[in-house]
Homo-oligomer: 477 residues x 2
């Protein structure tokens, strides 16, 4: 039994403005239209043989994560299980909660394959082979890490120093902190040094034992969470919400510090699998095909006498004149222009936005909700226009606004609308009007997406002018 456990917590501040709090790095779509999380689900389903996929993520990302799992269209028998954190507490508590779940449901000998939700692996075949090797070592009670064979003198990663061969892998001599550039160049020529990829494989019981030995306070705090959670849930549930107060008290520590660097039972499987942590826009750039001037473009771009540059545009025309070595990332509400050598410093923009509590830090113009999405198309004086997309079978809460009226025009699909005391169907090319103070509810009763244009009119148009009476997603409080 091998249960893939996907840790989905990366903020990806270096990938602003595409990665933001409201839709962070795991949900970022690559040029092929697939998100990193979706790719991770596909990869995990391919190697897992327990039929279960466990995701540990913040509860804010539950519905979005479930949507990505649905988009992966895995064949029957793959059951998604979600362990939801109220706050981030680094990787040790996340892995510990997953290990407690797996040990309790499937037994202490069931193995976990811990994967990050925001990495890319190009060579899936080599990855499958490496997982097989890791499972073999895990069966011998090793805590197995995956060590990526370096192809550049990377100073942004920790390294693993490998020792003698054991089974399909090697023993671990030690872990090395992010090195200097000189050291990184040395390591590049030395077969014993590997990048610490943050992927692991081990039996649930072995991990919990080692955690108990080396970081007992973490295990104890996680067990308290587990007990409290179990009081409200059954092991057959697919969604577990960690109790906020108890989980808040769990130490913030990485699995490397808590266990891997301290345990004597660690092994490493060296891998050459086309791995990237997609750490910055430079990594995204490198995935696109360069032209003769070493320019790369996603979207409609005109290069005039420009070289070595990357432009990514969602829906606008971009013209570049006489530029060199730039990254230009264009989204509908924010634009980034950066020297490619300074890709790491994009996080400074996010820090600045954070200091200003700026809206562009958190939300995209398109906001994802459990029932679908809405996109603000324009805000003017006393009016706001949204495009609302509701998934088949989904419905918004029964709600009321004090300060705004809403005009709804269905442009695609069919809407079922409760408007005051009436229940009506609104078909494509029909409209309805919701006066301020009227209780209303929007539902998509059909089997295709409902697309609707909403024109709000009123003195105050903030999202907080909403009274929810009934909500299938538990958002009434």
């Amino acid at each position: 039994m091998l249960i893939p456990v996907i840790l989905s917590g990366g903020a990806g501040t270096r990938l602003w403005p595409v990665s933001r709090e409201g839709r962070p790095k795991p949900f970022m779509k690559l040029a092929d239209g697939e998100s990193l999380l979706l790719k991770t689900y596909l990869r995990a389903a391919h190697v897992g043989y327990g039929g279960e996929l466990v995701t540990v993520t913040n509860r804010d990302y539950f519905f979005m994560s479930r949507d990505e799992l649905a988009r992966a269209r895995l064949c029957d028998g793959h059951q998604g299980v979600f362990l939801l954190e109220p706050v981030g507490r680094n990787t040790a508590p996340a892995v510990a909660m997953a290990a407690l779940y797996v040990a309790n449901k499937h037994g202490r000998d069931a193995k976990l394959l811990v994967l990050a939700a925001d990495h890319l692996i190009k060579n899936e075949q080599s990855f499958d082979k490496a997982v097989t090797d890791a499972v073999g070592l895990a069966a011998q009670d090793y805590l197995v890490t995956f060590g990526v064979v370096p192809d550049s003198p990377e100073t942004g990663f920790g390294y693993i120093e490998a020792g003698q061969a054991i089974g399909g892998g090697r023993a671990v001599k030690g872990f090395v902190e992010k090195p200097s550039e000189d050291k990184a160049r040395e390591y590049l020529l030395d077969d014993d040094f590997l990048w610490n990829s943050g992927m692991f494989c081990f039996k649930a019981g072995v991990f919990l034992d080692e955690l108990s030995a080396h970081a007992p306070e973490v295990l104890k705090a996680c067990e308290a969470c587990w007990s409290e959670m179990r009081e409200k849930s059954s092991l057959t549930d697919t969604m577990f919400e960690m109790p906020a107060e108890t989980f808040n008290a769990v130490p913030d520590i990485s699995v490397d510090y808590a266990v891997m660097e301290r345990s004597a039972r660690v092994a490493v499987v060296p891998v050459d699998i086309g791995w990237s942590d997609i750490g910055s826009w430079s990594a995204i750039r490198d995935m696109a095909e360069p032209d003769d001037e070493n320019n790369r473009a996603i979207g409609e771009v005109i290069f005039v006498d420009s070289i070595n540059s990357y432009v990514q545009s969602e829906d606008r025309l971009v013209a570049a004149v006489g530029i060199d070595n730039l990254l230009i990332i264009d989204t509908s509400d924010a634009l980034l222009v950066a020297n490619a050598d300074r890709a790491q410093d994009v996080k400074q923009v996010v820090a600045r936005l954070k200091a200003q509590n700026h809206g562009a830090l958190k939300l995209h113009p398109t906001v994802t909700r459990p029932w679908g999405t809405y996109t603000v198309l324009e805000e003017g004086q006393r009016f706001k226009i949204k495009r609302i997309e509701v998934k088949p079978g989904a419905s918004l809460s029964l709600q009321m606004h004090h300060h705004r009226s809403e005009h709804w025009i269905v442009v695609s699909g069919m809407a079922k609308v409760i408007n005051g005391n009436q229940e009506i169907f609104v078909a494509t090319n029909e409209s309805t009007y919701i006066p301020a103070g009227h209780k209303h509810r929007l539902e998509n009763p059909g089997i295709m997406d409902l697309v609707m244009i909403e024109v709000q009119i009123g003195e105050y148009l903030g999202e907080d002018d909403i009274v929810r009476f009934l909500d299938i997603y538990g958002r009434c409080q």
Copy 2:
């Protein structure tokens, strides 16, 4: 009698993406919200003392030009007169038509002050003084040019070589083509060399006589236009449309080549008036105040370790990381990122767009119509959303669409709507529905702007699905 004549014909391709065919350089708004044309009207009204302002422009820009004149809110007594060209034929025919109009209406001794619609003059007082000098020379039957005292070794302008002093100016020894950089550096140190600004002052009759002497074929062709035009109009009209076929036959030649460089009666008034032809984005940049890192920003911009750069953004957040010497011009549907040393080459982008017959060459998302504006907010599958603004008292044509229905929602003001056989009023926060095949008309009967959201739904949503039945702006054919 001094009649300002404003030549409004510049395409301003170096100022793409803000300047485009649909709204070219004279209509470009500066940071203070005023267009170059509006500033020219204010300047002209200040010095003119005939009560008339003559604009020579393409007929496509008539309504937009008239709007700018209205925005200038000139005090009573200033009458706008528009001479409309079907095609551009350079400056000699434009000035000749204006001279024919002025000579016929106000007599051959009335003076013209010829100004470009897309230049900027910072020092209005010095300009007023220079005009007084020029008028004095024009009274002595000189063709007066304004020669700008150079403050840089400019290779993009022609130069005027000044001779002995006469009246408030100097005689002209000759005109010099755009010089080499070495020559331009020499001229900068020599008081006799001045930039040819393209502004002039002369009596209508003197100009026509000199045109007859030096370019009789131009005068003859223009006189043919004038006669044909007069058959359909009265001298008290304020809008004269040049006959297309006859005007097409007028030679394409500049006023410098046709008259100034050939005439013996040319004088120059040297001026130091803070003049700029706003020839590229560098000129726009120079008008903004630099910060400590020599960055300049219009709009919301975050600079991280960036220097010497200019960012202009309409409504999006722009972040710049580690950049130097860039121009970043952000509009709602197109973005320009250019090395500041290559500002002249922006015209190459326009040339490329022209070769592709690209939409971003011609129109802004906001399109100006005689009755107001419309802005496309979103185009989706089978739907399109527009914000429509109708000026007080204005109305759209009585029209019909075969392939689309329209939902209209009034968000501000009052609409009078003809919908099939009905005539109704639609107030703020009310809506109406125009089915495909229904004749309809939209009017703003009020005294404040009407703002409306239109949601179009149908198989085909092109602007050419329109049958016009009645149009007060003469667009039925």
